[in-house]
Symmetry: C2
């Protein structure tokens, strides 16, 4: 096993002091990088996910080109519904499309908790190859969608602003919804354990649509399942929960035992720290649209963010995925500003 | 001038005790009502807005059919950009489309602060007619979009999940953005004063996209302008600010002097009250998707909401607009449950 040359991310997640703040960006392996776009023109979305040498290459691009402190495996949260037996299409300019969404109890019969080694082995293969090619330069992050967010797509069949059909499904057929959520959870636990075994040092659970639920429903339809996942992964990997918009649950999310909590730009770091308590690492929370600002503005705003996060365990990141139209030198300015920052406590 | 037979809403907004909680629903005049759909089949969107007898009829439908404690004039926030000189189309199943959006400083030359009596007189006419036909049954609410939310559409040219182009416009051309926001603000002040003069007892400012901005940007690009509007309306009407998702600014919004603050379902009523302070009326915050639940569940959840809001000045409402596929008897169950509720302080 290779020793990591840069383990800032892991130490921050363990709550240890680090000589500087680690930094990476959600969706950093992707559409804003010209070298990614070249591969995108040649291979379909799922080809890029399923061919380990392509996924590994894409995963390492931002380490080489932008200088981030962690690699996150190139994949998609919808590989899980796919492995469970649903058809998932990626439609250009439109996003994911699931032609046969779940609408009633009988639709669950089409689903299975798959043998992940068989149906998602290509992700494990990509992780192993990436780990090897990284050669200990930075840690490797694996990920999965939170069960609630996957349910959103599996029921709605496509993206949505508000996922009302998914919510209505939960409100009118709660028993079926919970059966579905448990099937997804069981699959996700096996999947993330496999990722850890294949070399992921950290796994992040993306609950992109967690914030569409109010506090009570978030507990019932989302956190209940995330908690199972975090508990199951305890021995194998460090865990980060990113439930976009679910600021109201930071205290409860911290209590799951996750090592890190992602936050978006709609909560002040000071308040997030108050709610989450002193121990968990916070991760975020730069507004992705702000990376479109002129570079001097980016530098100033990144420093203000770092000041606001202060001294607790912290990982600099965006508050959501990087936008495809961000110039690479803007992304680099973000990363460099974090790397050059030295925290000076206010007197 | 007719005396109001039901002035619960006005008294709650003035912070007075009311014998029961007043209730209305955002977008209550609209798509979930079969009688509205009949008019929708016959007349185009802007025809319905611009013909006072149609707008008045649609406005009063939910008072007659669902029993709400206030009427809100049937119109759209985009009549303001239209009056300022922009073309606005309403495209079925797609939403608003502005074919010539604002992209740079020179585009502002196409815009004007209009004579509202001339360009928006049809709204005033609709308000006068509605007021007359209501005959004092319930108060009448007027409204406008917040300048930030209107900028979103005027720059992006259509709806969006994240309005990144609008945000990038603000971040890269802040001076032009502020000139545009001030033009919208000046128009909106004249427009809402006209609405008050035409009979609106209350005006609500809808900042549907306020919550896409973080706390600092919300202050700079949104609240700075809302504050001007609230101050200008002070003598003429009671004011409500509804900035969806902008929970982090409740304290600052309360400090504007607005009489009411709308909140969505992603914040617990107790926390909203803590942040907003004891005096301002809170309005909300039932998850609109929850109206798709079975009626007994709706009744139970509405009572839980009313319990949570407790004794402070309060107006029951949804946390966002009613969904088009809500059965009318579900909307009625919402309203009736509020009307039949008697607050019992916990011992």
């Amino acid at each position: 096993m290779t020793t990591l040359k840069n383990d800032l991310l892991l130490r921050a997640l363990r709550g240890e002091k680090t000589e500087r703040v680690p930094v990476w960006m959600m969706r950093q392996a992707g559409r804003y990088l010209p070298d990614f776009m070249k591969l995108k023109d040649k291979y379909s979305f799922f080809e890029r996910c399923q061919r380990p040498e392509l996924a590994a290459e894409i995963t390492i691009q931002p380490v080489d080109q932008v200088g981030v402190d962690a690699a996150i495996i190139f994949s998609d949260i919808l590989v899980v519904p796919q492995a469970m037996g649903m058809e998932v299409q990626m439609v250009e300019h439109r996003g994911p499309f699931l032609p046969a969404p779940i609408k009633r109890a009988s639709d669950l019969e089409k689903l299975r908790v798959p043998d992940v080694a068989e149906s998602l082995g290509y992700v494990f293969e990509a992780l192993r190859l990436t780990k090897k090619n990284l050669d200990g330069r930075v840690p490797l992050i694996g990920f999965a969608g939170a069960p609630w967010t996957l349910l959103c797509y599996m029921v709605e069949g496509q993206g949505s602003k508000t996922f009302d059909q998914a919510k209505a499904f939960c409100y009118t057929q709660p028993e079926t919804a919970h059966r579905l959520l448990q099937l997804i959870t069981d699959t996700t636990i096996a999947y993330l354990k496999g990722q850890a075994a294949a070399g992921a040092d950290v796994v992040q659970i993306f609950d992109s649509w967690g914030g569409l639920l109010g506090p009570d429903d978030f507990e019932v339809f989302s956190l209940y399942y995330i908690r199972q996942i975090v508990a199951a992964l305890k021995e194998q990997a460090l865990t980060i929960i990113f439930a976009k918009g679910a600021w109201y649950s930071l205290e409860e999310m911290a209590a799951t035992g996750a090592h890190g909590l992602g936050i978006d730009w709609c909560i002040r770091p000071e308040i997030a720290r108050q709610l989450a308590g002193p121990h968990v690492a916070l991760q975020g929370n730069f507004d992705p649209a702000k990376l479109l600002s002129p570079i001097p503005v980016i530098r100033k705003e990144v420093r203000a963010m770092l000041d606001a996060f202060g001294e607790g365990p912290y990982i600099a990141n965006l508050g959501h995925g990087i936008l495809p139209n961000v110039p690479v030198d803007h992304a680099r300015a973000f990363v460099e500003t974090v790397k050059n920052y030295a925290y000076e406590p206010a007197r």
